[in-house]
Symmetry: C2
Subunit: 187 residues, 2 copies
DNA sequence: TGGCTTAATGCAATATCTTTGCGTTAAGAG
DNA sequence: CTCTTAACGCAAAGATATTGCATTAAGCCA
């Protein structure tokens, strides 16, 4: 009874899947501000009342879709060394998040107040960094502190994406990574 | 003709002021998600159509109010030395932004897409830091780079407020400041 | 000051979106 | 296979958003 509501193959799961897919399709075509619940309902063949009852409102639905899209499908690439692992991950992260759809997902996740969408999304980043750290330790390399990496690398990237006060070039991202690694080595 | 639309004392300015005041009053009483445009319209004695025509929708209005509230009324306190100036400013900034109303303002500003609310709000922080930097130079102290201060101190604070992944204690904020200053001195 | 031009507002009708009651469907358990 | 109940669809009711048109008042110029 207390198991998860969403199951594979059930009607409920099929509806969730249809709605998510429809939202993602719409996001490719139009701006987030133009999307409405009745629009999603019609395209997905689900009645609006079901969407409202299940997700509450449009912003919660968008946040739910965004978290699902941000959920990583695989571990970050193993390049053989901690420095290059970190740089590769950060460059990919910055590119994904700074794209139009990435910024949209960020905004959706942050404007949601139920379900801790922001926290779950943030956890993905922690997990990836933790994976890189674990790899480094296994290799016998000097590891880094995940929290410090968040502060020194991830936080500035997110800040500049959100506030649009600086362009996020690969060079800039690389400089964040290298400065962080130098600081680690220096201590 | 091309001067600013909003004037002191005119009807337009009076309405803007009434609406802003009403929104701020409502935000004290209730949660942001419960506020509606018709509600604001009634309380402020303005018709809903005026609000929609002028601000577009509720989220733009809330962002406009948030930017107005974030606009600093005075320069940061002068404590006599760059280090204490910076620490005092950051502690106050973190406290304001992490409060319930502060997080609400942040969310409003970031979810707005018209009018560059995020950019204007971000500029306030740059200006304050620039003021501190100018003071330091005047005193003959070693100054800091404003962009680096944003990356090293402000960005982590905003990140943790938005994602709720870490408590923002004064000690943590102080450690961000001191680590930044050490790094400056070290170079 | 007085008249002219035009942006901004108010009102009311309309369109769209959101909520809710109730009957129906189907998932999960025994 | 039947029972129980969560989730859904439909349609009506309620609330919000948009728009056309008349009115008000701000700014400008004589």
């Amino acid at each position: 009874m207390a198991r998860e509501m969403v199951r594979q193959g059930g009607r409920s799961a099929r509806i969730q899947s249809e709605v998510h897919r429809t939202v993602q399709d719409l996001l490719k075509t139009m701006d987030r501000g133009e999307i409405t619940v009745p629009m999603i309902a019609e395209k997905s063949g689900v009645t609006p009342s079901t969407i409202y009852r299940r997700w509450g409102d449009l912003s919660e639905l968008l946040a739910d879709v965004a978290v699902a899209r941000m959920r990583p499908v695989a571990d970050p690439e193993d390049t053989g060394a901690m420095e290059s692992d970190l740089e590769a991950f950060i460059l990919q992260y910055a590119e994904e998040m700074s794209s139009k759809v990435g910024r949209s997902m960020l905004a959706d996740v942050l404007s949601s107040m139920e379900g801790d969408a922001a926290g779950r999304c943030c956890q993905f980043t922690y997990d990836h960094l933790e994976t890189l750290r674990g790899r480094a330790l296994t290799r016998g390399e000097s590891a880094f502190d995940v929290g410090e990496a968040i502060d020194a690398i991830v936080a500035p990237i997110i800040y500049h994406i959100l506030f649009g006060d600086r362009e996020l070039t690969p060079d800039y991202c690389r400089s964040l990574v290298s400065r962080f690694l130098e600081k680690c080595a220096g201590v």
